[in-house]
Amino acid sequence: MSAMADSNDDKTPITVITGFLGAGKTTLVNYILKEQNDWKIAVLENEFGEVSIDTGLVAESMDSPEDLITMDNGCVCCSVRGDLIRTLGQLAKRRKDFDAIILETTGMADPAPIIYTIQTNPKMSDHYKIDSLVCLADCKHIEQHLDEIKPEGNVNEALQQVAFADKILLNKLDLVNEEEKKRVKDRIRSINKFAAIIETERSKAPLDKILKVDGFNMESILTVDPEFFDEDDTNKKTHNTALVQSVGISFKGNLHAQWFNMFMMDLLRDRAEDLYRTKGLLSFHGQGDTKFVFQGVHEQINFGPSQKPWAADEERINKFVFIGKKLDRAELTKSLMECLYKEEAK
């Protein structure tokens, strides 16, 4: 019986956009559908409600006339009405018409179930791949949202949206001054150090920075600021378990494949829920100059060789990024370093 293989050829990239109501998603969607002309995008929305469709537009039918509307610039807006798989399945027939798909999620905190479905449901994974998770943040109001105390056990959605993102669009800059902006950026960084923050005004995001960026690709760890991996004292004083943190670890050497493999399997099995995102850049003993990268959402890890191998004179520095809860930097560092290759006495 054959096993199923993995191949990213030719799949339509899906960008998942999260963010609070009022952060400017509708404005962004309208900008994409009506003002820009460089990209042919299919936008999947839960409801049409907020999207302003002029009466002069032609309505096309998928199942019923209200489900899909084609815009002048070739983009379409599609109403999901709860059944994402069905909508993506029907769209698959004409996915060649689009450069990218945007999945706009209202108020959803944990994108993991969507990621999981798109990556493991064969009907989905044959046609689509997750390109990146983008969080639209309202610079003026996000601190409020982040500060909101939730009843026991309830998730702070703003916090999770920021924590999961590969890219953060910092919007409504016209409403804040430099000082406020810096404060917000620092706050965001304390949660998610590795997401790229892109400043936008009136939701006019530079689309080439958020679409088809292969942000879900493991390579993105290569562009993380080296400073990030330095021991950071500011995180130490707050050991609030509800706090989402970013922990960066780096150390020299070559890893022992078997030991690292076992460590990761144990970690993912035991801590999957608390590990929101992970990224890594690795060097293994016995793998020559191949540079390995990985990225993950909870326990789903994508692993592979980097485009460029280790250069001959390049120091082998392993880097890890963990974003999540209850992260003990010292413990993680110790366990990871135990995976470094050592000659075993046989």
Binding site: S2, A3, D6, P122, S125, I301, G304
Partner: protein, 350 residues
Amino acid sequence: MNKKKSIKKKTTTTGATGFGGALSKLKEKTFDYTGTITAHPQTPQQTIPPSLLPPTSIPSYASTSIPAATPPVLPWVIERKDKETILKMERAGKLARQCLEVGGAAIKPGVTTEEIDRIVHQECLSNGAYPSPLNYHGFPKSCCTSVNEVICHGIPDARPLQSGDIVNLDVTVFKDGVHGDCSEMFVVGEETDTASQELIQVTYDCWLKAMEFCRPGRAYSDIGGIIEEYVSARGFSTVRAFCGHGIGSVFHTNPNVLHYKNSEPNGKMEPGHTFTIEPMICAGTQKHVTWPDKWTAATKDGGRTAQFEHTLLIEENGVRPLTGKREGDRVQWWEERSEVHKGIWTGSFD
């Protein structure tokens, strides 16, 4: 099924009734089948009472449908089997071959694929083994029968085989804690058209070439290039979506053996490794569509496709098939006409 991908979460359907059942029947009727093969009725899925087999010959998923083991995180971490396990795998391999030959001997025009499945199932049980595909991620039968344009994972059903059909019979057995996996082509009736003959010959030969390449130290990723080069030069395509796999106490594990040119870090061959090479070669496009039954993969353009499979063992000086044909087994015309090796292939050594 490698790592976390494509885990087909299945719910058992014992005689679908009600709205759900009607809906799935409708889906099957209205599905745009790409060739001449269409879904036919199936008898309900069997469950093997645990008392029929020794516990060591019942896989973890027999009752749950989900295999217990989690595969390694790193793609090049591959298990080296010890002597004892290798002996067990030899026995499982021989039995898989036996069940395949017995099933294959029954292939004739008018016989349904379900009847073949019953024969394989019975042969398996009477030899104290479990038919591995049964309930593996919910698969409803004991072997796979893939006819004409069906690439793989065809589910045995009430369709009678027709003269000129080409069918792949894929048998895996689980005995004493290990699996043995092999598949073979069969021509239904006296013969088939010239194009199908060529397809079978090319598939067989590229498979042999790939297996002969195997030696300690060589990269699993290099297997794909050998296959792709051989078949494209002759006007055929190789399926990318399905691959060969490591095998042992787990049905599908590392290494991933891709059947197309690639440079994935899927590890190096070492003595004690057991894995399959099972290229699916197509007359037309290699792209596939999946039937509403969520298993059957058929070529998108309805063109015919062929496949062969062995479970292989890497030894110090070469490679040998654990599911190889035994003396006295039927030698097919493509084995006799092969330009790579004539007659039964028993391995390749320095």
